[in-house]
């Protein structure tokens, strides 16, 4: 013991020579340099975080804005009366089942001047979307007076053409590395020169359901599904959360039971979201036999996740209501329940709504639990009720991200931008609500 301390003291130079208290400029300079370095680390950390944010958004916007426009080709389609209205009468079923593909293809062939060369035909057809027939059908159904005439019609180009025209670099690639061959490019150039190719706003992206053709795929079903889920969250998490918070904050005695509930709520807020998906699968789907892929199940799972957020926000804003309000109400003879229901809760409402909206925004972006309850679904038709199969915005993003076609990258980015737009709107609403209605007592 003494040995070691002795040796240490001889090894330490500071212990031998008494420390000088004079101005040591070298040491000071080193310390100031350390100070500057430390500050620079802090700035670097913040710059790193913000740079990543900018990078993320720039990438998404640059990749995604192209999807807002879709290339369309104008054809002069002859709406053959023989096919559409056999026997001269316009029959609804005949109109729906007519061979629109043939009509569009004929128009395409005449426009490009292709004869009976099968290879040329196939390559030409590849310029046009697979959903061309349904686009034409929609036009004819909307205006049956067109039957028998030759009308100019804008038809979606295939995703390959769309990507090619949006990304000029593709032209420089060797032929075998492109999706389009030289002949197809020559056709595209001819169509462009004739003014038959144009980019128009991509309504399909917002309106259509699922499709394996990128140019026909849309987020309509996902948006409706997400809206249904948010509705379910609002209708369940808000009332239940407010009621639970009111009980815990105003009525609950301080005992083990309420302590347990409180610990529970705080822990539920930290449970990984995927565990809620397992809960939904085991309880809602297996035990109660609710339908798979239904927004109502997704909404219930998400509202269980949102519940802690609502409860915590409500308790905070109930606490913020000053006691003078309660005392005044009690003083004029209101019962405790009346004080709470008529005065405290209404005054706490802006804070409650702010918390709820923020919780819902988080729920809107949540993906993992929805994967387990079958929201990964190929749904073409709009869900009429929350019990019908649908998908959700983030799940749609996940599915498109996994799709192999290049055109889906663009669409995924656009879908992300739309999801982020929803989130921005919700958060902005929450901020405005807080600014406008929050009272400082």
């Amino acid at each position: 013991m003494t040995d070691s301390t002795l040796r240490m003291s001889t090894a330490d130079p500071l212990a031998r020579t008494p420390r000088k208290l004079t101005f040591d400029s070298k040491r000071i300079r080193a310390r100031y340099a350390a100070e500057r370095r430390f500050r620079a680390y802090g700035v670097a950390a913040i710059v790193f975080g913000l740079a990543f944010l900018v990078w993320l958004f720039a990438t998404l916007i640059l990749q995604g804005y192209g999807a807002l426009q879709q290339t369309r080709i104008k054809f002069d389609v002859t709406l053959d009366r023989e096919i559409l209205a056999p026997g001269g009468t316009v029959d609804d079923t005949a109109l729906r089942t007519a061979d629109y593909t043939a009509m569009v293809r004929t128009a395409l062939r005449t426009t490009l001047g292709i004869g009976s060369d099968r290879v040329a035909r196939r390559e030409a057809y590849a310029l046009m979307s697979n959903g061309a027939d349904s686009e034409l059908r929609r036009i004819v159904l909307a205006d049956p007076t067109l039957i028998g005439k030759t009308v100019p019609v804008w038809i979606s180009a295939s995703a390959d053409v769309d990507t090619f025209l949006k990304d000029q670099k593709q032209r420089q690639l060797a032929e075998d590395r492109r999706r389009l061959n030289d002949r197809q490019i020559a056709w595209i150039d001819r169509l462009t020169a004739d003014g038959r190719i144009d980019r128009q706003f991509n309504t399909a992206l917002f309106v259509n359901g699922a499709s394996s053709d990128p140019e026909q795929a849309g987020m309509g079903v996902a948006i409706v599904g997400s809206l249904y889920m948010m509705l379910v969250v609002l209708l369940t998490a808000l009332p239940v959360g407010v009621a639970a918070a009111v009980y815990l904050e105003e009525f609950a005695p301080r005992n083990r039971w309420t302590d347990l509930i409180e610990v529970n709520i705080n822990n539920l807020a930290a449970v990984p979201s995927i565990v809620f998906g397992l809960l939904g699968l085991a309880i809602f789907l297996n035990f109660f036999g609710m339908p798979r892929s239904a927004p109502v199940v997704g909404g219930l799972v998400l509202s269980l996740m949102t519940l802690p957020v609502v409860i915590i926000a409500t308790r905070a804003s109930i606490k913020a209501v000053p006691p003078s309000i309660r005392e005044a109400a009690l003083g004029v003879g209101a019962s405790k329940m009346q004080v709470i229901m008529h005065h405290v809760v209404p005054l706490a409402m802006p804070g409650v709504l702010t918390g709820t909206i923020i919780g819902m925004a988080r729920a809107l972006g949540e993906t993992a639990p929805l994967l387990l309850i079958g929201m990964v679904a190929f749904v073409v038709a709009y869900p009429a009720t929350p019990f019908d199969p649908a998908t959700a915005l983030p799940v749609q993003i996940y599915m498109w991200a996994g799709a192999s076609e290049r055109a889906f990258v663009e669409r995924t980015s656009a879908a992300i931008l739309i999801l982020l737009a929803f989130l921005v709107v919700m958060n902005a609403t929450a901020v405005i609500l807080r600014r406008r209605f929050e009272r400082r007592w």
Binding site: A45, A244, F287
Partner: protein
């Protein structure tokens, strides 16, 4: 009568009860609401509650119990040799009967007993529906009349209504407990089922993950369900993400709390917090399409082999996502260190960074450790980023450029697609989920414990 129709009828009774109760209270007081014990609306609510609550309780019970009871009755009427079948085959028969009863197409020859049972089922369901309608509406009417007759100026309607409200409030706060119980029990149940098929030691200590999906129904599909590779993948990715999130989050928190001008702070803090608000599927997409290929190209130019989905990609992106968790919590904690400590240190001649390193950080350390632990539990439970960016191969590797898989990825991949709820391939997901739940819960509780235990009290 269909359930929605019965619901509508009961709801109508409720509304009528409110109006009638209020009316009767006013009438009984001769139009002077002052002589009533409670305000008129409470009498209305009193009658409405009596009309609604018993009927709704009955309806809820009925809707849950009816299929079970009918199922049992159908089962007991099946021929002896059918009832003796194994559970799987019996459930197949019951599904067939169900399909016939609901008028769906059934493949193949339908045996006579099934046709008979289906007819029985339709009949039973119809009569059960009628019974439910009559009973529920009857109960609503009885409740209505009972309460309505009791309405008089002396009735303490408000007290009753408030008691009912309190019960409702308690029930709502019980949902939080119910959720936790539901989580634990649903997973525990399926996990025990899984452990009856695969021994627990093979699960917890197995080093090979090879679940071997087999065709539905085939027996003897023993895969290997080793947890270790998945756990290692989870830990490895979390480690990488912490290597990004902790320095960046902590340093930015220190800068924002100690150096930054108020205006800078007002802008930078919310901007950084956007990182936590971006849905994780977006990060996953970014990792998949931008960062993964970028790392692969950089690696290729430096002579490394970096796979497109790697520990590095997933870890870095997850780390960025977690930055705000670390920085916000640390920021609050650093701000809570009293100014007097800083002033004392500065007065002794320490520079600002020395003050931070020697005084502020040690004082804030328990809170910072707590916030880091919370961030770790966040990283462990994160799903979408790893599903999209970490890969699906269960590797037990130390190389951050290879792809690994995590617990959450396997939960997702075992539970998407066609499910069969008695195969270990599906059930293992619940065992994984329970493991995840226990680990994150433990981390959270431990983090809170550390914060509480080591918190310095300065006041």
């Amino acid at each position: 009568m269909s359930t929605p129709l019965v619901l509508a009828a009961v709801l109508l009774m409720t509304l009528a009860g409110f109006a009638a109760g209020r009316q009767r209270a006013l009438a009984s007081s001769g139009g002077h609401a002052r002589s009533l014990h409670s305000r008129p609306a409470y009498y209305g609510s009193y009658v409405a509650l009596w009309a609604a609550v018993p009927a709704f309780l009955l309806l809820a019970l009925w809707v849950v119990a009816q299929p079970l009871v009918i199922d049992m009755m159908i089962r007991s009427h099946l021929p002896e040799e059918i009832r003796g079948l194994t559970r799987d085959k019996l459930s197949l028969v019951l599904t067939t009967i169900d399909n016939i009863a609901t008028g769906r197409a059934v493949a193949g020859e339908v045996p006579a007993y099934a046709r008979e049972a289906a007819a029985r089922k339709v009949e039973l369901q119809a009569s059960a529906n009628w019974a439910m309608a009559v009973l529920a509406i009857g109960l609503a009417v009885i409740g209505f009349l009972f309460a309505w007759r009791r309405v008089n100026p002396m009735l303490r309607a408000r007290n009753s209504v408030e008691r009912a409200t309190i019960v409702a409030l308690i029930a709502c706060s019980g949902i939080a407990i119910l959720t936790t119980v539901g989580i634990v029990f649903s997973m525990l149940f399926e996990t025990l089922h899984f452990f009856s098929l695969v021994p627990p030691q093979d699960f917890f200590f197995g080093t090979v993950w090879d679940p071997r999906f087999t065709a539905a129904g085939s027996e003897g599909s023993a895969g290997q369900f080793g947890l270790i590779p998945l756990l290692w993948g989870t830990v490895f990715i979390s480690l990488v993400s912490m290597l990004v999130a902790v320095p960046v989050g902590l340093l930015s928190a220190i800068y924002l709390a100690e150096y930054a001008h108020k205006n800078v702070r007002a802008w930078v803090k919310p901007l950084l917090e956007i990182l936590a608000g971006i849905p994780t599927v977006v990060y996953g997409f970014f990792a998949l399409t931008t960062l993964g290929p970028l790392f692969r190209d950089i690696g290729a130019s430096l002579g490394f082999e970096v796979s497109a989905t790697s520990v590095l990609t997933a870890g870095v992106v997850m780390g960025v996502m977690i930055i705000p968790f670390v920085s916000s919590l640390s920021d609050d904690i650093i701000n809570a260190v009293p100014q007097s400590l800083r002033d004392g240190s500065l007065a002794l001649g320490a520079t600002q960074s020395e003050t931070i390193k020697r005084v502020v950080l040690p004082a804030a350390l328990p809170g910072i450790v707590g916030s880091i632990l919370l961030a770790v539990s966040r990283a462990i439970g994160e799903t979408m980023i790893v599903v999209m960016a970490a890969g699906i191969a269960a590797n037990l590797t130390l190389n951050p450029f290879e792809s690994v898989t995590t617990v959450t990825v396997k939960i997702v991949s075992q539970l998407t697609g066609d499910l069969e709820f008695n195969s270990p391939q599906t059930l293992v997901a619940f065992a994984l989920g329970l493991t995840l739940f226990v680990v994150t819960l433990g981390l959270n509780i431990y983090a809170l414990h550390i914060v509480r235990k080591y918190r310095e009290q300065y006041d």
